[in-house]
Symmetry: C3
Subunit: 325 residues, 3 copies
Amino acid sequence: QSSVTLFGVLDADLKYVKTGDLTMKKLDSGGLNTSRLGVRGTEDLGGGLKAGFWLETQVDTDTGTTGTGAFWGRRATVSLSGDFGEVRLGRNKTVSRLHLEDFDPTSFTGLGSVSVLYSNLGSGNSTSYGRADNLASYSLPTNLGGFYGGVDVSAGEGTGTNKGQSVRLGYKQGPLHVSGAYASTSNAADSSKFKLASLGGAYDFGVVRPSLSYTQTKYLSREQKIWTAAVTVPLGQQGQLWGSFTDAKANGVAETAAAGYTPIGDAKLYAVGYIHSVSKRTALYTTFSQLKNDGAARFIIGGAPAATANGQKSSGFDVGIRHSF
Amino acid sequence: QSSVTLFGVLDADLKYVKTGDLTMKKLDSGGLNTSRLGVRGTEDLGGGLKAGFWLETQVDTDTGTTGTGAFWGRRATVSLSGDFGEVRLGRNKTVSRLHLEDFDPTSFTGLGSVSVLYSNLGSGNSTSYGRADNLASYSLPTNLGGFYGGVDVSAGEGTGTNKGQSVRLGYKQGPLHVSGAYASTSNAADSSKFKLASLGGAYDFGVVRPSLSYTQTKYLSREQKIWTAAVTVPLGQQGQLWGSFTDAKANGVAETAAAGYTPIGDAKLYAVGYIHSVSKRTALYTTFSQLKNDGAARFIIGGAPAATANGQKSSGFDVGIRHSF
Amino acid sequence: QSSVTLFGVLDADLKYVKTGDLTMKKLDSGGLNTSRLGVRGTEDLGGGLKAGFWLETQVDTDTGTTGTGAFWGRRATVSLSGDFGEVRLGRNKTVSRLHLEDFDPTSFTGLGSVSVLYSNLGSGNSTSYGRADNLASYSLPTNLGGFYGGVDVSAGEGTGTNKGQSVRLGYKQGPLHVSGAYASTSNAADSSKFKLASLGGAYDFGVVRPSLSYTQTKYLSREQKIWTAAVTVPLGQQGQLWGSFTDAKANGVAETAAAGYTPIGDAKLYAVGYIHSVSKRTALYTTFSQLKNDGAARFIIGGAPAATANGQKSSGFDVGIRHSF
């Protein structure tokens, strides 16, 4: 009677990270994919209609903790799908975040994650490139000849930073993939909006799959522009080499301190990695990344020591294992 | 070798709530049934004897959190059952709470829940109409020709508000259901007792099932009396209409402020709802409820904004989906 | 596709504990085995190689909470095993803890647990007789003719008390079991080390299995020496009687107060218990234990009230049920 799937990923890596002169060796969790445990299921309601649910919690393999947010902070949704598409209710990634992930070879995870360069520009709201509470989302049906898309709205419930909406449209057919997203989220007072617009494209030549994306964000008159060029190269049946280069630029206002705002700056992120699939579920991997800050920038590689001065370099290297179930 | 069932409910609703002039639109969790995830199982020990366990955690689909209390705060029990009945040890609903639920069409959940009118009258102990830690309970066997019953005791362990006992006796056969419960719980200093006595009855005429219940509580010389009249009406194979009216009256002492006590007052709760079962496991539903406060009363509908003045009206409307697995 | 096992133990006991004149009756969790819920699985990678994972959370059946530490604080590991042995990464018991458990009939659990006598001697680090974060461990293969062993290292990650290593070697063949362990862990400042050395042996005569172990710990010039003599006696097909006597002695420096150090003293622990297996998965049990403190010692039985003076006696009695799945 019960049709439940218990699934997850456990990922652990040995990591060496450095920011300026500070270094650290650590056993960490989620170098390739964030470690997680989930429960999900669907029920066929007849007539093409399906009900579904999805619960997913973060797992930190190094310490046994469950991340810093809500227990089911990765996802807690109930959904109805059919010929009309899918409606999902609950906490989840926004569709603009899903767009951004698709053009980062790391999917916003680990030492090479492009996500560390994204700033909310002082708006206090990061849901457009993250996850949102109280989210109602709609996805187009999957039979539109390669076209796909979705839109979501998160209810503010009296808190501005809970409020937002995003939309995404894409085309993925054969070797070609292009996608665009737009999101707008509110600040705490619900007085001004943070806006994100992004375009991405990739073409799979078989021996190599290059991709390019451009994202622009704005809050008040602060702006950030992020270019990512990436490439993935299959090596035999089991191997995959990938690399990415990201250039993030802040405009002058974004580089200027203001009440309640810590200025950002320009930065460049270089990342390369290799993934060796031992089986369908288990992979060994290694990653190297380096982040160069300019001016007031204090961005750091995920998991690296906090920067102690402007313009420091942050870098990391890891080897790890990812087991999914 | 392992005989474990993973089960749960994910329920999300779009809700509009109002108290006085304050209104809120929200995506909420548990409009029909509280969202939850559980693990349970039984083992046949031979000779009619069975061992069993039950773990159940609340899930908030809107934010991914797990409620405000203990992780397995809904239930964490191990039990032995046989011809003699069942003994359960652990955190669980008290038998008096189980009695009260049976005569509220919402089972104490969602916008129409009668539970919002229950006060502990300043005793600090709500376990008689809720759940209790350290609970040892005994249930009569299920083959007594319609008669059933249970008794439980919760150990104080040095904290008065952990201490209580409750008893319940009922008869459910054919269309008739009657039940009575009595509970007594301690205040923090273990110096005085909060007492609850309740009677309920229902008769299923097939086309309509009316029910009536009366509950009286007392702490020091404060008293509350709660009448609930309810009706459920099946509509076709898949539909169910329900309605309830509750009248809660406090005596003069309960309406008088005292050190450490916020006075309550009289209130009336009207609730109607409709549940459409799409399948055995999935239902769509809608609820409307209105709560009218008298005098010093500041009761609110579950999930509504807090009252800012005495005697305000609180109301709510939702549409939602409940998926169980 | 998914090969996951959901497993656990739910254990509840009715307990009477006493320290000095303070007594308490309680419903408690984990009198025989700590209540827990876990998810584990393995994947065959071919060529004798296996990947595996293990997540395990504590459950408190009395209150529904999950213990005081991390949610998956009992274990969160991913591993690779093969002809070479096994490598595990994540939070887990240290191999020195596994050694110590093997020579306590209670495996460090419940009223008779020897663990309450272990002191970190002011070092602030208890991982050598407990669990450690950031642990990388290696175990010898299991086909060495009875010899077994393991070694582990936990990365400090900038916190001295996260840093340690331990090693264990043993021989278990037929009726004989001998094992030795050595561990060294750092204090917070990573300036001095807490050291633990232990030896244990047991011989199964069939009608009775006596065991003996000796553990010595040192930090600065503080020392503790712990002797445990234990015996287990099978009674019929379903019963097991066990008893243990432990003598813990502190040297003069360990008995002397110092800045940030609460002195310990000498103590003796007597414990007896009986376990009746109703089935493979379910057991009823009873335990009695008494702990006698000397001098400045304020050790208490697990779950007993805190000592209010030096040299008090602490004792406990319980009856309970343990159900595993």
